[in-house]
């Protein structure tokens, strides 16, 4: 059924449809609408879950580690400072092989306080062993949340559904909300291989000396590879039931493109607009949208980009001292090619700064007019800072 939903509410609808059994969460802007809507669902009986209103994000994830270990389908949502506070337990959840799903609203990290869109929060958690899925639209948010449970439970790893603050979390769009029967077909009840059980008592997460630890870690890497290999099969089934698919990456007009913009999240939508305009003027330009960031679909990305002359990666994030994080990963994927495109790395839109069609066109023009990038990463749309301020 088509409904006009806020991005946050699309997450909540998916959680309801997934029949999540334990929710544990803590408020932080701009994620609060998700957990408030879930509270409503629990209060009015449309979702029969245990909802733990814990005293911190750290405890929110800790509680789910307990719940998931005891066999319950588990969900939380957070953002920015909250995700940073969870860091220790993000590692714990993947190490314990728990398919917890977390909706993460991309928000800038303080200081200074900034509640607006920025991907540095989720990308600084890239090495924690969580599947990461970046979304562009309200429909994609709902669908991806359902897919996240399926994928996570298939490979026994936790999964993060990532959506931009406000541009997505607080924007209303028409969304097709599927029926319960279809969702049940796609996502059967959670039935883990191991769970805390007094009939067959086991110890979980115990001391692991050097002669066993490494194999345990290897199994996480294997599970990530399995998630990558199983992604399209999962989407195949998803589209068979719901008629929609997104791909681990989505190439837009890449076939004959000389220049390809690599994007993620809502900047993709703005780029679509630009590409339409540029194409109508005869420019050979395309987009590669990256949805699946962990596991990283390096091979598909290589295939999509290898024929382009130049690639411009747009990062709404920064790893200080290195540069844009998507850029680093894409460059690493391309370096295996004998002949590869020239890669330009742009940092744009930090802390919720608007990235308009005009800004993206600026980036495009720079890339078209230069043979090689002038810097490791180029900061787009910086205001001029008075020199004395910088030197003080």
């Amino acid at each position: 059924m088509k409904r006009v939903l806020e991005g946050s509410h699309s997450v909540a609808e998916a959680v309801r449809l997934a029949k999540v059994e334990v929710i544990s969460a803590y408020p932080i802007t701009p994620q609060t609408h998700i957990v408030e809507r879930l509270s409503d669902f629990c209060a009015d009986g449309s979702l029969s879950a245990r909802y733990l209103r814990v005293e911190s994000e750290h405890s929110a994830l800790a509680a789910l580690i307990g719940a998931s270990s005891a066999g319950a389908r588990s969900f939380t949502a957070t953002s920015s400072q909250g995700l940073a506070l969870m860091h220790e337990l993000l590692h714990w959840a993947s190490g314990a092989r728990l398919p917890i799903v977390l909706a993460e609203v991309n928000r800038a990290l303080a200081p200074g306080w900034n509640i607006w869109a920025d991907q540095t929060d989720s990308l600084s958690q890239r090495d924690t062993g969580w599947i990461q899925l970046y979304c562009e639209t309200g429909q994609e948010v709902l669908d991806t949340t359902l897919q996240a449970f399926r994928l996570a439970e298939h490979v026994s790893l936790p999964a993060m559904v990532v959506l931009d603050a406000f541009f997505l979390s607080h924007t209303y769009e028409p969304v097709d909300v599927p029926g319960q029967r279809e969702v049940d077909r796609f996502l059967p009840a959670f039935n883990p291989r191991f769970r805390l059980n007094t009939e067959t008592p086991c110890a979980f997460n115990q001391l692991a000396p050097p002669d066993v630890y490494m194999e345990m870690r290897r199994s996480i890497q294997d599970a990530m590879e399995e998630a990558l290999a199983g992604f399209s099969q999962m989407e195949e089934e998803f589209s068979g039931i719901f008629g929609r698919r997104y791909g681990a990456v989505e190439p837009v007009e890449c076939e004959d493109a000389e220049i390809i913009l690599v994007t993620s999240g809502t900047i993709t939508s703005t780029s679509r607009q630009l590409v339409k305009e540029l194409r109508s003027r005869g420019e050979r330009v395309g987009i590669l949208k990256i949805k699946l960031f962990r596991p990283f679909p390096a091979e598909i990305i290589r295939q999509c980009l290898k024929k382009a002359r130049k690639v411009a990666i747009i990062d709404r994030n920064c790893s200080f001292g290195a540069g844009g994080i998507f850029a680093q990963e894409v460059k690493a994927a391309l370096c295996d090619l004998a002949e590869r495109p020239v890669v330009f790395s742009f940092i744009a839109g930090l802390g919720g700064r608007d990235v308009t069609v005009a800004d993206l066109e600026n980036i495009y023009t720079q890339v078209r007019n230069q043979e090689v990038p002038q810097r490791e990463s180029i900061w787009a749309g910086l205001h001029p800072v008075p020199a004395p301020e910088l030197n003080r």
Binding site: E21, V22, S24, A49, R50, L52, R53, V54, E55, S56, H58, S59, A60, A62, A63, L64, I65, G66, A67, S68, S69, A70, G71, A72, S74, E88, L89, W92, L196, N197, T198, P201, C202, A203, F204, N205, Q206, L207, A208, P209, V212
Partner: protein, 292 residues
Amino acid sequence: MQLELPDRDYMFPGHVACPGCGAAVAMRFLLKALGEKTVMVIPACCWSIIAGAYPQSTLKIPVLHTAFETGGAVASGVRAALDMRGDTQTTVVAWAGDGGTFDIGFQALSGAVERNEDFIYVCYDNEAYMNTGIQRSSSTPYGAWTTTTPGRDWKKMRKKNIVEALVAHRIPYAATASIAYPEDLFRKVAKAKAIKGARFLHIFASCPTGWRIPSEISVKIARMAVQTNIFPLYEVEDGLRYTINFFPKGYLVKEYFRLQGRFKHLSEQDLDQIQTMVEEDWKLLRHKAGMS
């Protein structure tokens, strides 16, 4: 002496605790009272080691090892999941050291107790961070040496009163217990098991390694802590009704202090001051129990 306790054990022999470890004794008694329908959550502490390395386990019940500060939260989640499955029979226990309870895990514990989560939180108290090599915690008593309070920098702050902090939450049941009084401990665990909501047990568990005592006086030291009123045995129901379970004959604290290497630097004057502090605390407790 024959103890009036069930023979059945839920702990295998051959665990790796130090000889005379009070924490190992405490677990053994606890499980005798709880039985096999128990799920145990263990945050980082000496028991993370005592419980055994993969693929072995010291305990005959399911154990979920977890991060240091998460006992209260993880146990809440386990309870929630069991409830969702309709399993209200299994007892969920969080088992943590004093560091994991008084310090780093206090927030999660306080949150869980405020929500009145239905599980038993047990703190075995060896009065320092032992797993990491005897560093001070907020449970380390006034006067003690630890590796982070060495030489003349011995700890000059009082031990935090954890039971009173939880009583302030109006917790349905809170009690102290000691490895030297197993029948009292057993009774309290059985009582806690029958109550619904948040329950807290504070078990005094001597540590020969950290306290610099011979292992064979481990239980004796624990008994002296009770007999000197340093660690009174009492219970509090609904945060209101206090019952003192043991009235000592008034041994002097210095008898207890003299036997332990961790206190050997204290002067007569220091010991007199500690005696005064202990008497103050005892008076306060008697007052709360309506005895003065």
